[in-house]
Symmetry: C2
Subunit: 353 residues, 2 copies
């Protein structure tokens, strides 16, 4: 039951050829008669041989170099993402894997391209990047792939690019989810929803809003969309104005960032009448607090922890020329005041020695 797994020598013996020939077959070195090759393949099949990746990598002193390229700035979500990647990076050292976290100014496509180009020549074994919808980025990715470097799109997909996979949520589904929850919270009654986004030109925001609208429109009204540019000051001003102008608003859906501004407005609302239902995205310190204080109802989170775990898993698999294990989009989590995770951000393991 605990017998050792077959080695390539076992395969060679079984096939009645030398180790050298078996090696020529499995490593496609050529110069092997078809007759011998097929016997080797048969032996592999019969013995259930799988090559020992550890030994293979050892013999080649293979050590993986991965890079994650994230947008810079003080965005709370990416701050968290960066912290999670750094944690993962520490753990990976034992496995001869270096994960470097690289920062490029947000929305700066030329800078991103330059970075990608540089990485392409630096002997990187795989990279994950937060894409943007730009033709130059697209071709930079194509270049990397052409060099045989695996690329994963992270958080925001790059439409049309032949990346090896996308690690992130389906924003349209996330929007529909938000919509369904808002409808549910109306319990069949009429209402009018105020949608807030960063910019309608941002792909993820637009996708969310489209999904949201598709579910909500049959049941509820939609007020004109507010574009807050992800800046809390602007969001606060516009939302306050909209609520003032339209007392019939029963719900707010914020698909973008800058929610600190929205929360500020909610804080200042009169307490004697029911406040609107509020749904927004990303669990970050201020949205968490708002949930705990009952200022908002629902936070839809992209689960950066999951994303990081999948990026690491995916890059390793791809570097070994294996298949990705999971390619389905990450499902966003719906946070209510009652299912918030423990608040300590850096949880230690509870292993015993």
């Amino acid at each position: 039951m605990d017998r050792p797994l077959p080695t390539l020598s076992d395969v060679a013996q079984r096939a009645g050829v030398s180790y050298a020939t078996a090696d020529r077959v499995v490593n496609a070195r050529g110069g092997v008669a078809e007759k011998s090759a097929s016997r080797v393949r048969a032996a592999i099949e019969e013995l259930g041989y799988v090559r020992n990746l550890a030994a293979a990598n050892l013999s080649q002193q293979r050590h993986y170099r991965f890079v994650a390229v994230l947008p810079g700035g003080d965005n709370a979500f990416f701050k968290r993402m960066r912290a999670l990647l750094e944690e993962a990076s520490d753990r990976l050292r034992t496995d001869r894997v270096t994960l470097t976290i690289d920062t490029v100014e947000a929305f700066d496509a030329p800078a991103l391209c330059a970075r990608l180009q540089a990485l392409g020549t630096e002997g990187v074994d795989g990279l994950a990047l937060v894409g943007s919808d730009d033709a130059r980025v697209l071709s930079a990715i194509a270049d990397l792939r052409a060099r045989g470097i695996p690329v994963l799109a992270l958080v925001s997909d790059v439409p049309g690019a032949d990346r090896n996979g996308y690690v992130g949520i389906d924003n349209s589904v996330a929007g529909r989810t938000a919509g369904r929850l808002v409808v549910l919270a109306h319990g069949g009654r009429a209402g009018r929803v105020l949608p807030v986004v960063g910019a309608l030109s941002a792909r993820d925001h637009a996708d969310r809003l489209a999904g949201f609208g598709a579910v909500v429109r049959p049941q509820l009204d939609l007020a004109p969309v507010i574009e807050g540019r992800d800046r809390k000051g602007r969001v606060a001003k516009r939302v306050a104005a909209a609520l003032q102008a339209d007392p019939g608003i029963t719900a707010i859906y914020s698909a973008g960032a800058g929610n600190a501004g929205l929360i500020k407005v909610l804080e200042s609302l009169p307490r004697d009448r029911p406040r609107p239902i509020v749904v927004l995205h990303e669990l970050v310190p201020h949205s968490r607090r708002a949930l705990e204080r009952g200022l908002i109802d629902i936070v839809i989170d992209q689960r950066p922890e999951d994303a990081v775990a999948r990026v690491v898993e995916g890059l390793r698999l791809l570097a070994d020329k294996r298949e990705l294990a999971r390619t389905d989009p990450i499902l966003p989590t719906i946070y209510l005041a009652d299912n918030l995770p423990a608040s300590d951000t850096s949880q230690k393991g509870e292993t015993s020695p």
Copy 2:
């Protein structure tokens, strides 16, 4: 930048001792003067040495044998879990990891203990088990741990046991989540909720119901709890009777299994008046269909995919005597009709060669 990582020989050289001495230090073989030992430790620090796990495992022909012990029966959830574990098992072969899936009759503590005892002597490198709240199981786990075998509790925790970790959701939080959603769906109006469980003596069901009640009670009434024994026939009969007897029921929360029976009742409800809000657990074929057909509103899922990923990751880390990367409970996913995952159960990778 791409220089090779330091080896133990480098460490020895730096410390001014022989390889043998450095080896004695890192492998705690003893017989090393404190003076030398500390110089070796300093060198390790300075060079940032991390031992090459691949080489280490290779030299010892280490190959991991893991076992997952699941309850038998035709439970849809565990069927799915088993399928997912088998998928993972296939992928793991390349890494010299064998994951065996073992089945023990549900709720049969003596049988489970016997199985665990047997595994303890078979040279297993780690196991995951669906625990039950039983003193005998508890001591069987203690035995395994005493032999140095890592144990993960899966799906259902074993209270008081010194397992290395728990992989599953927090059922109390899941119940509270369900409660909040039901409250939300009432939009401030009054209502009465019908709770359904398998048995109040089942720990997970009880936990869920307790969490649910804590959130719901301040706002809504609770009808008497139905114990359906997780059998669809019994569930159907009792729920139908309860709805008949009490027309004021505005919501149903099912914390256990046997939901096919509940769904059957919902199907037969008159279409002309609003049906109750329905929240239940586990996304399985019949609950999925009910969601798609609008017969129920919300499914709270334990994310068996996540659980499997974490079990595999965790057992490997533990077998290498490393720390668990993630010890926080899995967050259940809230499924609505609008965020159901793609229905093909066995998604293939989309890697290119």
